[in-house]
Subunit: 277 residues, 2 copies
């Protein structure tokens, strides 16, 4: 059996450090979640994030907006939160309803309150190797690798998927850590050949159990960002049982990357509050 990369354990260790940091902050950080519409998955995510804030002693508030909200109304809400000094972090839960320009909305968030790290300025700082807020999921991946002392420098990392939220920032973080980095996606020819050359394989492709052992190098570290409900069971983008026969280390789903995403959000909110003081 491969080493199981236990995201809950890594998150716990991070929470211990964060509680110490929080105890030294002169303010209690506050985050506002903007939740548009009634997507059940989004509702679940926002609830989990809010609950974790509570556990950590952070203030959080969820503002619900109807699916019929206009882009202008949403932007207006963001601008009000930008001005509100009691609010340190603003998170617009994605996806947004069709008809709302996501990029435009995200650009309106004050970059110093952009705890999801999706504002172009923050993405640009990351791209330039001087990040302010790092998107939570890729930041969590780095924490997992560090916690388990999996070497990144000089290793060959393949990222499958190129979203702004996971794939591209993950590639950038691996590059900052001196990995040789490849990005694959739907247009990649012979994906299995590419993935099976990787020492560290990061999969954020959005297809249940897509990655099988034929696509993985013997002993490789496999990070599974996917999360799907299939026949009542939670699975990732990686066929866990099958790939476990070949991987050297692997994140389970659930309990791998997921807990780290929330942990890194707590870290970003804490950082946002300390930026302000």
């Amino acid at each position: 059996m491969p080493l199981i990369l236990d995201g809950k354990k890594v998150a716990e260790s991070l929470y211990q450090k964060l509680l110490l940091e929080l105890s030294m902050l002169p303010v209690v950080p506050k985050i506002v979640f903007l939740l548009v519409g009634e997507d059940p998955a989004s509702q679940t995510y926002v609830r989990s994030k809010g609950k974790k804030c509570q556990d950590m002693g952070l203030l959080s508030e969820t503002q619900l907006l109807p699916v019929t909200v206009t882009e202008e109304e949403l932007v207006g809400r963001i601008q009000a939160l930008n001005k509100d000094k009691s609010v340190h972090g603003i998170l617009v839960q994605l996806p947004l309803p069709a008809g709302i320009n996501k990029q435009r909305v995200l650009r309106e968030i004050d970059p110093r309150k952009d705890v999801d790290g999706l504002h172009p300025e923050n993405q640009g700082r990351l791209f330039q190797g001087e990040p302010r807020f790092i998107p939570c999921t890729p930041a969590g991946i780095v924490e997992i690798l560090r916690f388990y002392s999996i070497p990144i420098e000089g290793s060959k990392v393949t990222v499958v998927g190129r979203s702004e939220i996971v794939g591209k920032p993950a590639a950038q973080l691996m590059l900052m850590n001196n990995a040789t980095v490849q990005i694959c996606h739907s247009k990649t020819k012979d994906l299995a050949r590419e993935t099976s050359a990787a020492d560290i394989l990061i999969v954020a492709i959005g297809k249940p159990k897509f990655v099988t052992k034929e696509m993985v190098k013997e002993g490789a570290t496999v990070i599974d960002v996917g999360i799907h409900r299939v026949d009542g069971k939670i699975v990732g983008d990686v066929d866990f049982e099958n790939v476990s026969q070949r991987a050297g280390a692997i994140t389970p789903v659930p309990g791998g990357v997921g807990p780290m995403t929330i942990a890194m959000l707590m870290k970003n909110v804490t950082q946002a509050a300390s930026l302000r003081e």
Copy 2:
């Protein structure tokens, strides 16, 4: 012999299009170059850019600053140019003297005048796939590949070098064009193995004649970003004669990427002026 990718020819074709665009603009675009110190290479670059502006009927101005200039003075100069409505583009010639924080200086340029595309906001927009100004050298590489109908989508591209000016934006542009992209650098193990898997190899490594045919796949397209003077001769990062025995297409040095860098700057300045009207 491989196909020689003639950057002068591609640049000429671009200048024809730009002249037409310029003739339709209600203003004459103006760029200001800020040149700090007396680095001979920087002086040469700024002179070439200024001369090309003249050829194209653009206005340009070079402001010389002593090597002893402080960061504050440089920033003050930039802020004045940001306010000056007659100025459409601002270019701080790099490298800056030691002791001046390059990132801080570049962040001061109004992103709408940042014709080098190095402001974090512009780098973030590029990273997000919605670029405003694209750094000139990687933009020029894409133009060369398009001009010669070299397919990017689905091809395997390896970029050697990870600067903010060339390597990283080149990788991002190739990704936007649906290539499978790898970034290699000084910490890459077995560089030759990585480079010789590439259909398109982009070399921005800063070492004269570093790439030899053993590092190149038969029939690959080789783009050489380097420029060095060795024994009175101009050479690139690629050993041109040697690699020509194996490459399918190759940029010469000089006359490859170099002319395209200036051409794309002219394009960005034109774009900056049209943004403003």
